[in-house]
Amino acid sequence: MSLLEVKNLKKSFNDNVVLKDISLNVEKGEVLAIIGPSGSGKSTLLRCITDLEQEDSGEINFDGTFGLVFQNFNLFPHHSVMKNITNAPIKVQKRDKTEVFNHARDLLKKMGLEDKEDAYPCELSGGQQQRVSIARALAMNPDILFFDEPTSALDPELTGEILEVIRELAAEHMTMVIVTHEMAFARNVADSIIFMDGGVIVVEGSPEEVFSSDNQRMKDFLGKFYD
């Protein structure tokens, strides 16, 4: 059985149908990239899976904990980096403080931010803030990690450092679902790719299959990136 199963998901906002019958599976250890033009429903799909939106119909089967990395980081500005990362594991998961702090220090080290634990989010660059938010999500020991356009709010020169972190996580077989506009990255890192347009999955498969697809909408979309 798959770690995450989405069956026949439908979602509308008033008269605007955003998701029309979406089904997908994510296996343990898989990295799935979701690509597609703006307004194609990618983010809404992620928000339904993570309970930030209520689907109109369909089924989402997932039993475990998940983390979500937002486009705008959404760090808590009044908490230090350390508190951002440790507060939920301690308060929500009721884990041992010492264990959580050690875990958080390991994660910060991995993110190259070991000297920033007492800093506040406003003192960090966008790339550093996003790395803290990834550490915050990982501190919950998620079974699956979702990314909602994690580099879209960053300057191009800061995008690389986030993609590098995600690449490392992929090498460690972290299960991830990544909504992204970074085509080259999706192609290199993902095990499978879903191309969405107009609220439906138009093409899905391995990166090779998707990027060499004959589908006209897919070709038009990719054309915009390579022109």
């Binding site: 309970d51 983390g67 937002f70």
Partner: protein
């Protein structure tokens, strides 16, 4: 009358003014949060009750509200209340009036918080109550502090309105002395007291604002 005697006579009144001030803050600051909660409730009758309440409290004179709270129980319900009620009425009237203003300030503060903060908290598994008290409220306090300071300074001066139901606070006493002596000295002393008290209030509030300045 010599100045030291005037000050001595005003002293008791000062204590009463400070009591009104502190008790009003003690009750109205939390009550304002409750009213703001009602005003922003998803349950529309509650929302309307809070809206009408705020509208009346802000739309009618505080002096009139003091009179209504003090005399209302007798004229409306024929209740006779003990002499202690005079002071209680002042605290009730000030509290319900200031809670309305604070509620609107809180509401503005709460609405200024980005919805991403709620979403991040939800994804991390915080309950709604935890989200409010751990994530939202501390940020709201920082945002609303300058507006709260304004209201608190106004409250210092508004305590003088209690003269209308003959509470022996400083302004009431000062007026009595001024009438008896046919001299404005007592009122000037009272004025200086209000001013110094507000300088202290502004100083304290600025200290609090600075303490919350550790993040943007």
């Amino acid at each position: 009358m010599i100045l030291s005697t005037v000050i001595e006579q005003l002293l008791g009144g000062m204590v009463t003014s400070i009591e009104i001030f502190l008790l009003t803050l003690l009750f109205s600051l939390p009550l304002g949060l409750v009213v703001a909660g009602g005003r922003m409730s998803r349950f529309s009758p509650l929302r309307w009750i809070a809206k009408i309440y705020i509208s009346i409290m802000r739309g009618t004179p505080l002096m009139l509200q003091l009179i209504v709270v003090f005399f209302g129980p007798y004229y409306l319900f024929g209740m006779t209340l003990s002499s202690d009620y005079r002071f209680i009425a002042v605290i009730i009237a000030f509290t319900i009036n200031y809670a309305a203003y604070f509620a609107e300030i809180y509401r503005g503060g709460i609405e200024s918080i980005n919805s991403g903060q709620y979403e991040a908290a939800q994804v991390l598994g915080y309950s709604r109550l935890e989200t409010f008290f751990i994530i939202i409220l501390p940020q709201v306090i920082k945002v609303v502090l300058p507006s709260i300071t304004n209201e608190v300074i106004t409250l210092v001066k508004d305590t003088s309105l209690s003269f209308v139901i003959a509470i022996p606070e400083m302004f009431t006493v000062a007026k009595q002395i001024a009438a008896a002596d046919a001299s404005i000295a007592a009122l000037m002393v009272a004025g200086i007291f209000y001013y110094l008290f507000n300088i202290l209030v502004a100083f304290v509030m600025e200290r609090i604002e600075n303490r919350l300045d550790y993040y943007e």
